[in-house]
């Protein structure tokens, strides 16, 4: 019963979904305020989601029906599963096993793959173009993001999130010991979630709504939800690894929120990068920086 509660209510399931919606609202509201306007009301993401759920789902012609309906569900399931191993709200995660860091990162990537596939299975050209862009972006940010998360893992000499956070909690914040890794991780997370300025895969002015162009109603709601959940999971992960562990839930919530605010502010400040510029940025700087950091940590380890 207790396990079921953990999965369905807190910290997984319902609470996570609500916090995900809250995160979207905070992000949109802050963005609006940075743009000198009022912004949405607090229940806006909830209303959007419920409305989409209640809306007619159009299944376009020439699309694999089962896949079309299954992909959004799969992506939500993937990010919810990813949440299991992450110390959400500073609570001890539901599961913990050796190597769960890698599994979590790849479960988050499953969302991206589903998004891409969702674009590629439809007949729509914008969606196909969006799907291709999602894939190319996936290939570009995946490596540096993982490398950036591996920094703390190496420092803690473990692949298990709980162990790394424990290590992070008992040492100096890794934000200070591995600043490059932190920056790469934050930007990698933004790339992963296709947040501006890395939103070329869904650039409205070029390819309409990217790979989700053909989605209406339920499918769109689920994709949006899973992206919000992925945002919360990713923020939790980065905050836990880089901002000094999860010892105090309240302090941890504040740290996560601060990270969300930073990410949102970055979104407001830049023009969108072209897809080739995104990829160039990653492979030119992201990977090299992350690798350099990694070597430094190894050398530091060896010296100690």
């Amino acid at each position: 019963m207790n396990a079921l509660g953990t999965l369905l209510l807190f910290p997984g399931g319902l609470a996570l979904l609500l916090v995900a919606l809250l995160a979207e609202w905070i992000s949109r509201k802050l963005l609006a305020r940075l743009q000198n306007r009022v912004g949405p009301r607090w229940f806006q993401p909830l209303a959007d989601t419920v409305k989409l759920l209640a809306k007619e789902e159009v299944i376009p012609e020439g699309v694999h029906r089962v896949l079309f309906e299954f992909l959004p569900v799969l992506s939500l399931a993937a990010v919810l599963t990813a949440a299991l191993a992450v110390p959400l709200f500073g609570v001890v995660p539901a599961t913990s096993y050796a190597g769960d860091l890698i599994v979590t990162v790849y479960l988050l990537s499953l969302l991206t793959l589903c998004t891409s596939l969702a674009g590629l299975i439809t007949d729509d050209r914008y969606a196909a173009m969006g799907g291709l862009r999602v894939l190319s972006q996936l290939f570009s940010y995946e490596a540096p993001f993982l490398l950036a998360l591996l920094g703390p893992a190496v420092a803690a000499e473990s692949w298990q999130i709980t162990r790394i956070t424990a290590h992070a909690g008992s040492n100096v914040w890794m934000l200070f010991t591995q600043p490059v890794g932190f920056v790469v991780a934050v930007i990698g997370l933004m790339g992963k979630l296709e947040l501006s300025p890395f939103d070329a895969p869904e650039a409205h002015t070029e390819i309409v709504a990217g790979s989700l162009t053909e989605y209406s109603g339920r499918g769109l709601a689920l994709f949006r939800l899973s992206r919000n959940v992925a945002l919360v999971v990713g923020l939790t992960l980065v905050a836990a690894l880089y901002l000094g562990g999860v010892s105090d839930p309240l302090a941890f919530a504040v740290k996560t929120l601060a990270l969300l605010l930073v990410i949102t502010t970055v979104q407001a400040l830049f023009a969108r990068l072209r897809i080739d510029q995104t990829i160039g940025l990653w492979w030119h700087y992201g990977v090299l920086l992350a690798l350099g950091q990694w070597f430094l940590i190894l050398i530091g380890k060896g010296a100690a």
Binding site: A32, R33, L34, Q35, N36, R37, V38, G39, T265, L269
Partner: protein, 139 residues
């Protein structure tokens, strides 16, 4: 080189009151010259119909009740009107004006847009003539 040139302005905005006017909770008074819905004063109208001739959108019809007594009804089609104020310019007797208050004109039904101006008894005399909802008459 700066990373972002807009950062300062964005942070300033964050701590400033938003530029938003929260219509409909608060209504800012509309400017004096705002060109809203047309108003007609039947007292001075001579029925010269220059307004009808000059209207570029065929939004005005001048219906005769009794021509000799200079009794007219002005049928105004808000949905056709382009609020250009040419009729106001053309009217030599200053019978026409554009209200600066009536600009919230949205309606669920097009019927609401046909307005008859004039003395009540004149409008009653015209009741049997239904308002046309067709396209503007051909020129």
């Amino acid at each position: 080189m700066r990373i972002s040139t807009i950062l300062g302005m964005a942070l300033q905005s964050l701590f400033r009151v938003p530029a938003t006017r929260s219509y409909p909770q608060e209504r800012t008074p509309s400017p004096e010259r705002l060109r809203g819905q047309l108003r007609w004063n039947p007292e001075k109208c001579t029925g010269c119909a220059v307004c009808v001739k000059d209207c570029p959108a065929v939004a005005i019809e001048l219906l005769e009740v009794d021509k000799a007594a200079k009794r007219f009804v002005l049928r105004y089609h808000t949905d056709r009107c382009i609020f250009c104020s040419q009729c106001v310019q053309s009217c030599r007797f200053k019978c026409l004006s554009l209200s600066n208050e009536a600009w919230e004109l949205a309606a669920l039904d097009k019927q609401a847009f046909t307005v008859d101006y004039g003395r009540d008894e004149d409008i009653h005399a015209l009741v049997e003539k239904p308002a046309s909802t067709d396209d503007p008459p051909r020129l």
